[in-house]
């Protein structure tokens, strides 16, 4: 369809927006999006003020959330920065829900509103609906109801047990939020009503038989002899889940609070793993959709110039030595790769034929949709980062070994380096590499009930200095001693943290 320049009248010429214009742009963009086969949830476009945008920012982008001081801190600092002009607010926030909620700021020009609609309401929206991680991990139709349930529940707890008591539990849970995710299993989605009844049932169940674990009824002789077994028998990666189910001293409302934080953490889990893809996908589509409108004559040249201006600044990647370098820009990398895949499909070079024999000369839209549906950042880069893209970004890989006094350049953008750069870049998006791998290793069921966590070290990297602080939070939830062992790949315990700290020397079993 490219190149067919049917001449329509432009939808608008000025920069002022009105609701009628937004409606018209949305209609046109929806038409073009459907033409490209983007499958989306229905959209709910909400026009808000900058102040409301700051509110949305500070409750982690959610339209509603429970109350907590950390959101207040976020709000205060956003407000401060915004007022001083240190940062502009994002043009949009989009929420993975069904219908998909997107916020437009009233200060935006008509061009920006159209850009945001294309980016959020059709780009992100179709990603949320299509990507396998979102499909398995989040339930778009239930999230708003769940948040409402969570907010009300926590409100009720605050009334009953006091703000401080609830805040203490929430603080502790937030510290462990990244460890509240089941990576490999997923329950069937349930409705919020079920959630409520289940919550009551759980409460009652737990009240009735708190835990098999702490059952003090003496066992028969032969059973007692072989109790060297660890509990849990396999290490548990979901710390919050383990605590929710097994912490001996938590009251039932505290368990429910732990659960709420865990559920919300799970909801964010796919977003953390698909940032590059998600943004790249949305940028690719706002670029493609708006250019399509331009080709049809529906938007003016002025419109497209303004659009390109903000588009290019969004997808700009500053070099590593620039003063404002702040890591790899996910928009730049994602957008670049998406465009690159399209190029490989449409105009492959010999190099591409060698590297990507399976996608050259295929339909670019199908290939992109396939990539969007079935990959996350890590695997997406490993699969699709092309030598040409590496050259364009001028990537180089650095090995930082703390035992050596210098940094080594392991690979650069040349023939011998493409593969390594691709692997290293992909690995840096692996959450397992970025965050310490910490699992519940053992509970001393027969003894002092102490909880042992194990940090499985990767590349000899130790834990950071906030570990003791976090352990205090774990201790609060668990109620008994907590110890954290760092284990190297040989199974040797390298270092141990205790909470409460032990004065005497400990045995490194």
């Amino acid at each position: 369809m490219k190149g067919t320049t049917k001449k329509y009248e432009p939808i608008s010429t000025g920069s002022e927006w009105t609701f009628e214009l937004i409606q018209r742009y949305d209609d046109e963009i929806a038409r073009v999006a459907a033409h490209y086969g983007l499958d989306t949830y229905p959209n709910q476009i909400e026009v808000i003020t900058s102040e409301q945008m700051m509110d949305a920012y500070s409750s982690v982008g959610m339209p509603l959330n429970y109350n907590h001081w950390s959101f207040g801190k976020q709000f205060v600092s956003t407000e401060q920065q915004y007022k001083r002009g240190q940062m502009g607010l994002a043009y949009e926030i989009v929420i993975n829900s069904d219908p998909c909620i997107a916020y437009l700021m009233e200060e935006n020009t008509m061009t920006m509103q159209a850009l945001v609609i294309a980016h959020a309401c059709y780009g992100h929206n179709s990603f949320f609906k299509g990507n396998y991680l979102f499909r398995t991990w989040t339930d778009a139709s239930a999230i708003i109801d769940y948040l409402l349930f969570a907010k009300n529940y926590i409100n009720k707890c605050e009334e009953r047990y006091g703000v401080d008591a609830v805040e203490q539990v929430l603080d502790a849970c937030h510290a462990l939020m990244n460890y509240g995710v089941n990576r490999y299993q997923r329950p069937q989605p349930i409705t919020p009503e079920e959630e409520k009844t289940r919550q009551l049932e759980r409460e009652e169940y737990i009240q009735r038989h708190l835990n098999q674990l702490w059952n003090t009824i003496p066992k028969k002789e032969e059973e007692a002899t072989d109790t060297v077994q660890r509990f849990p028998s396999d290490p548990e990666e979901n710390l919050l889940y383990f605590i929710e189910k097994n912490a001996p001293l938590l009251e039932s409302w505290q368990r429910e609070v732990v659960r709420i934080v865990r559920k919300i953490a799970q909801y964010y889990y796919p977003q953390r793993q698909t940032q590059v893809m998600n943004e790249g996908w949305a940028c690719f589509w706002h670029y493609t959709l708006l250019n399509h409108l331009h080709n049809e004559g529906l938007v003016t040249d002025g419109f497209i110039m303004e659009f390109l201006h903000s588009h290019t600044s969004v997808v700009y990647q500053p070099p590593f030595d620039a003063p404002y370098f702040n890591g790899i820009n996910p928009y730049a990398l994602g957008y670049g790769m998406m465009q690159d895949i399209r190029r490989i499909c449409e105009n492959p070079t010999d190099e591409d034929r060698e590297w990507f024999p399976d996608i050259v000369d295929t339909d670019w839209n199908e290939t992109l949709q396939h990539a969007m549906r079935n990959y996350k950042d890590e695997s997406f880069i490993l699969q699709y980062l092309s030598p040409r893209m590496i050259r364009e970004m001028k990537f180089f890989s650095i090995t930082d070994n703390s035992k050596l006094s210098t940094l080594q350049v392991g690979a650069i953008h040349d023939d011998s380096g493409y593969q390594k750069i691709r692997e290293d870049l992909s690995a840096s998006y692996n959450i397992g590499n970025r965050e310490p791998n910490i699992q519940v290793y053992n509970v001393d069921v027969r003894g002092d009930r102490s909880l042992t966590l194990r940090h499985y070290m990767h590349n000899d990297r130790p834990l950071g200095d906030s570990t003791d602080e976090v352990l205090k939070h774990v201790h609060l939830l668990w109620g008994f001693n907590v110890r954290m062992e760092s284990v190297n790949p040989d199974g040797q315990v390298v270092s141990v943290h205790h909470c409460p700290p032990l004065p005497q020397s400990e045995d490194a079993a």
């Binding site: 959209n43 409301q52 460890y179 990647q317 990537f395 380096g417 965050e435 602080e469």
Partner: protein, 424 residues
């Protein structure tokens, strides 16, 4: 299909609760910042909101993360001159040791302070937290402007929205019982007769009589039934009356020595003290008046401008100001209506024979009338006879009289706090 919604008119302050939680949690830090601000600010903007800084490490939310050390592979964009195998010096900025790692900026873990703005209201809240006006009494305001609506029983007339259903039905019930008393008594009588007749059954005469009586009962019951279930007469309405609310009002006397010995800097300190006091009083009283009295050898009631900025020379007779104040109180601010506060600032320099008189005036004429009398002496030198006389008063009037010394501007706020701290 898209829905476009205008949310701009929705509630804006969604984050207010979270913000308050945050302020509550870091009260201690904020209070310290406010104290610093109060001490360092100029007079005019002492009551503005302000910037508050908290060390970042105090408010961080800890999570498990990797520390420095080990082997890391990182990919960067924008290569210019590196080739494979190059060795690069570690960039500066990491911890001093060999394991230094210069990527602190990436982790967002600078040692910067977390700075934010609080508004005037919050600023004053923190500034005056835990302070109280001693012995505040609500006094009747003669020209009361505020009224409160209170319940006051029930009335027979009123508007339908004030209808009290329970009371009305109870009244209706009572009326029905009262007005049907005669009939029901008859019914009871007849029933008793029927009962005696029934014992004679079977008997045709009795049967006939019973049916007659039964008929009679029926007519009576009909009569009772005809009684209206509810009558206009039964309706009761909640009665609301407006009562004037005793509102508290106060007058504050600022007494300052303006003799030659008071330099501009001392007056400045005094002024700050008065302003603090004024701000504090306005938070507790809706209506507050300020009387400025300045004195050298004579006392005079002046306006604010003259109070702070005119300079005179001459000796010092403190009692003149006290006498004048006592007079003003008696004439214009009868203690029955007003809460009277007096703050006196001086460098402590007084004419020798006068201090004794001051004590008498205070003891006899002023202290019985006032809520609180605060004396601040702004001096770097030795206390003189005025202070010594006042010390005797303090022993006598421990509750209403307080005195403190201010040496330099940074003492103002602590002294102020001491004067008005909550008393057990």
């Amino acid at each position: 299909m898209s829905y476009i919604i205008d949310r701009r008119l929705n509630a804006k302050k969604k984050s207010t609760v979270n913000r308050q939680r945050f302020l509550r949690r870091y009260k201690k830090h904020i209070k310290r910042a406010v104290e610093d601000a109060v001490n360092s600010r100029s007079i005019r903007d002492i009551n503005q909101g302000g910037e508050v800084s908290i060390p970042n490490k105090d408010i961080s939310e800890p999570i498990f993360h990797h520390g420095e050390g080990g082997v890391r592979q990182r990919v960067f964009p924008g290569n210019k001159e590196f080739v494979t195998g190059d060795e690069i010096k570690r960039p500066e900025g990491g911890g001093g040791g060999g394991a230094g790692q210069g990527q602190a900026s990436n982790q967002g873990e600078g040692e910067d302070d977390f700075t934010f703005q609080i508004n005037q209201e919050e600023f004053l809240d923190f500034m005056f937290e835990d302070l109280e006006l001693p012995y505040m009494i609500k006094k009747q305001l003669r020209d009361a402007t505020s009224f409160e609506t209170r319940r006051a029983g029930f009335t027979n007339v009123g508007s339908p929205d004030k209808l009290n259903v329970v009371r009305s039905l109870r009244a209706a019930n009572a009326r029905r019982i009262a007005l049907s008393g005669k009939e029901r008594r008859q019914v009871r009588q007849l029933k008793k007769e029927i009962a005696t007749l029934e014992s004679r059954l079977p008997d045709s005469e009795a049967e006939q009589q019973i049916s007659l009586l039964q008929e009679e009962i029926d007519t009576l019951n009909k009569k009772i039934k005809r009684m209206p279930f509810i009558d206009e007469f039964d309706l009761k309405y909640n009665n609301l009356i407006r009562t004037p609310v005793p509102s508290s009002k106060a007058v504050m006397f600022c007494i300052m020595d303006v003799s030659g010995s008071m330099t501009q800097s001392i007056k400045d300190i005094a002024k700050r003290f008065f302003i603090l006091l004024y701000l504090f009083l306005t938070r507790s009283y809706k209506h507050i008046e300020v009387v400025f009295v300045r004195h050298h050898t004579h006392a005079k009631e002046v306006d604010e401008e003259e109070f702070f900025y005119s300079r005179e020379t001459g000796g010092t007779i403190v009692s003149s100001a006290l006498n004048l104040s006592a007079e003003i109180i008696k004439n214009r601010y009868p203690p029955g209506d007003w809460n009277v506060y007096v703050a006196q600032a001086s460098d402590g320099d007084n004419w020798d024979g006068d201090s004794h008189i001051c004590r008498q005036v205070l003891e006899q004429q002023i202290l019985p009338l006032v809520q609180y009398f605060a004396y601040v002496e702004i001096t770097t030198g030795q206390h003189q006879n005025l202070w010594l006389e006042y010390e005797q008063i303090r022993e006598q009037f421990e509750e209403t009289f307080a005195m403190q010394t201010i040496v330099e501007p940074s003492d103002i706020y602590p002294v102020f706090r001491k004067l008005f701290e909550k008393k057990e």
